[in-house]
């Protein structure tokens, strides 16, 4: 079932078209929304929240029309902005109770859910301290908690890992995966780091210059390819030579000791193993290569670039590969 479906959705600001003729269906689960700055992500989110009327086209979200039923949508949807949005002089508990009430929850339910939600995002004793004393990671958790406190059916998370260190990033991604799997809340998450989206998303939507470039399930985009990646400790040239003797096509890798074999030769793995054994070198890696999301951009950049009307953005996502 689609949580969000748009039809020919367009929004212009004067001469600038931020979102252009967007027709897309987003399924339940975690959907990654990819696009460079100015690609139209936030305009799209604003329209879906019912805060910005589209110039033309329609969108339904959880079965509600975003043009006329904004209040109903915003009761059932959570939003975590990218920007700083927390009052610094109140405690997380106090803030969450207030935000739950602002979403329409009665006071007692708001208290209960504020405590529950903070526990779920991993804030314990510190929740009674003013938010101003929190670390970036803790603030980010509070931001996530306020989007979840009213038990929405869907949350929009705008760059939730921004500003986090690698450990904090991992924890945040783990939390987002839990929101979808354990809490049963659909997630639309934006990020400019493809590796992150690859890890947690079930579905990827790429927009660029307000135009839909690709909407695909992550499984399709990252399926196993027909290439075998090999890394040996030493004497790679000799291993390659032996494998080539069997008639396999071998592509030396960029780092020393690595190479890729085209799996048209079905026994390639066997050949590598015997070559390594005979030469008495260590085998570090023998792995079927998976496609990566970055390839979407590489493909598009090579095939579609000349036809893209706005040259402002196309290269940006590929600059930050997984």
């Amino acid at each position: 079932m689609a949580t969000i479906s748009t039809h020919a959705l367009t929004r212009s600001f004067g001469p600038v078209t931020a979102v252009s003729d967007l027709t897309v269906e987003l399924p339940t689960g975690v959907v990654g929304l990819v696009g460079a700055n100015g690609a139209g992500k936030s305009t799209l989110i604003k329209m879906l929240l019912g805060l910005l009327p589209p110039t033309s086209g329609t969108a339904t979200i959880l079965g509600f029309d975003c043009l006329t039923e904004g209040f109903a949508i915003r009761e059932r949807v959570g939003y975590m902005p990218e920007s700083d949005c927390l009052p610094l002089d109140v405690s997380a508990t106090e803030f969450l109770v207030h935000m739950a009430r602002m979403s329409g929850l009665p006071t007692n339910a708001a208290r209960e859910r504020a405590a529950d939600t903070l526990r779920h995002v991993g804030l314990y004793e510190e929740r009674y301290r003013p938010i101003g004393t929190y670390s970036t990671g803790m603030k980010q958790r509070v931001k996530l908690a306020q989007a979840l406190v009213h038990d929405p059916q869907l949350v929009f998370l705008d760059e939730p890992t921004n500003g986090l260190d690698p450990a904090g990033r991992d924890e945040m991604l783990g939390l987002i995966a839990r929101v979808s799997q354990d809490f049963g809340i659909s997630v639309v998450v934006t990020s400019h780091l493809l590796g992150e989206l690859e890890r947690i998303s079930d579905h990827i939507v790429v927009i660029d210059g307000g135009v839909l470039r690709r909407s695909t399930s992550t499984a399709d985009a990252t399926q196993v390819s027909g290439t075998l990646l090999v890394e040996v400790t030493d004497r790679a040239d000799e291993v390659i030579a032996r494998v080539r003797d069997h008639g396999a096509a071998v592509q030396p890798g960029r780092t020393p000791g690595t190479f890729a074999i085209d799996l048209a030769a079905a026994d390639a793995a066997q050949w590598v193993v015997s070559a390594v054994a005979e030469l008495e070198v260590g085998l570090v890696r023998l792995q079927r290569k998976r496609h990566q999301l970055a390839e979407i951009f590489a493909d598009d950049a090579s095939s579609a670039s000349p036809t893209i009307p706005t040259p402002t953005a196309p290269a940006t996502p590929t600059e930050e590969p997984a």
Partner: protein, 299 residues
């Protein structure tokens, strides 16, 4: 005892998993009300760290103290009227009210602007107008309570001093009406000025400066116009200062004594001008506030 009970040591908090909410969702009106109450509570620092409470309550204490003195004197001397009337009290002690409004109005809006909280409100069942209305009414209630406190003390005191009950209650009701109007004017000015800056200090300074200057300039204008033009024209100097404007309105509407007879309407036309001026100030401030919040806090 089941196996689960034995396996878990005492004092362990069990992760009972995520629970969905199936209860009522009260929607937009409730959200608006909640924001209003939060604003009102915030004005007095309730639910906030202790240090944000000090200023508001100190000012309230200082503001009520003279009323206690007036009342004590009235009771001990068995006076038949109060030394300070229900409507003149706000003018006599306007500086304290100015400080209260200057502290509280930025607290109501510039925090939201500075910390970027507004997108969180707008992504909930609440419109921009709802936000402005909740903030305005919340602070208006807070200022009204502040202004009403000493006036109510005066009422209780005059009853204790066995003054005529009818007069006391009528006077108090008139005072409450004027206090509510004064609060609306002050809240409008305070919020309109505060909404232009994210920095609370700047907002405080702007409000104190403009209200204190208005308070100083207004009698000067009156005395100059009074001598140069006419006494009637001179009374309109009161329109510059919110406190004198409302005091003049009280005189025009209720027939009570103004703080300064030179600064109160002398006839029906004067009262109309005062009334229109009051409505214009409140209307203009609300318009500014609405326009301002159309722009800020875009999601």
């Amino acid at each position: 005892m089941s196996t689960a009970d034995r396996a878990a040591p005492h004092g362990v908090i069990h992760d009972i998993g995520f629970r969905h909410y199936t209860g009522q969702r009260l929607g937009r009106r409730w959200a608006r009300r909640s924001l209003l109450i939060e604003t009102l509570r915030g004005a007095y620092g309730l639910g906030r760290p202790a240090k944000s409470r000090i200023m508001a309550w100190l000012l309230l204490g200082l503001y009520v103290a003279p009323a206690l003195i007036v009342v004590t004197v009235a009771i001990t001397t068995k006076a038949d009227h109060l030394a300070l009337s229900y409507t003149n009290y706000s003018v006599a002690l306007s500086l304290l009210t100015t400080l209260f409004v200057a502290g509280r109005a930025p607290y109501a809006v510039s925090r939201d602007l500075r910390d970027g909280v507004i997108p969180l409100y707008l992504s909930r069942p609440l419109s921009r107008l709802d936000y402005v209305a909740a903030k305005f009414i919340g602070l208006w209630l807070a200022v009204t309570l502040f202004l009403a406190a000493p006036i109510t003390v005066l009422l209780i005191g005059s009853l204790l001093a066995k003054m005529r009950i009818g007069d006391a209650v009528t006077g108090w009701l008139g005072g409450m009406l004027m206090v509510a109007i004064l609060a609306a004017v002050l809240t409008g000015i305070g919020l309109a000025l505060a909404s232009f800056t994210k920095r609370r200090g700047l907002g405080v300074a702007a409000i104190v400066t403009s209200l204190v200057m208005a308070m100083g300039i207004s009698p000067l204008v009156t005395s100059v116009v009074n001598t140069q033009v006419s006494v009637e024209a001179g009374t309109y100097g009161a329109l510059i200062d919110p406190y004198r404007l409302v005091d003049g309105l009280a005189a025009g509407w209720l027939g009570v004594d103004p703080s300064d007879a030179m600064m109160a309407p002398v006839n029906g036309a004067g009262t109309t001008v005062f009334t229109l001026a009051m409505l214009a100030v409140v209307g203009a401030c609300l318009a500014v506030l609405t326009a301002r919040f159309k722009k800020v806090g875009r999601v």
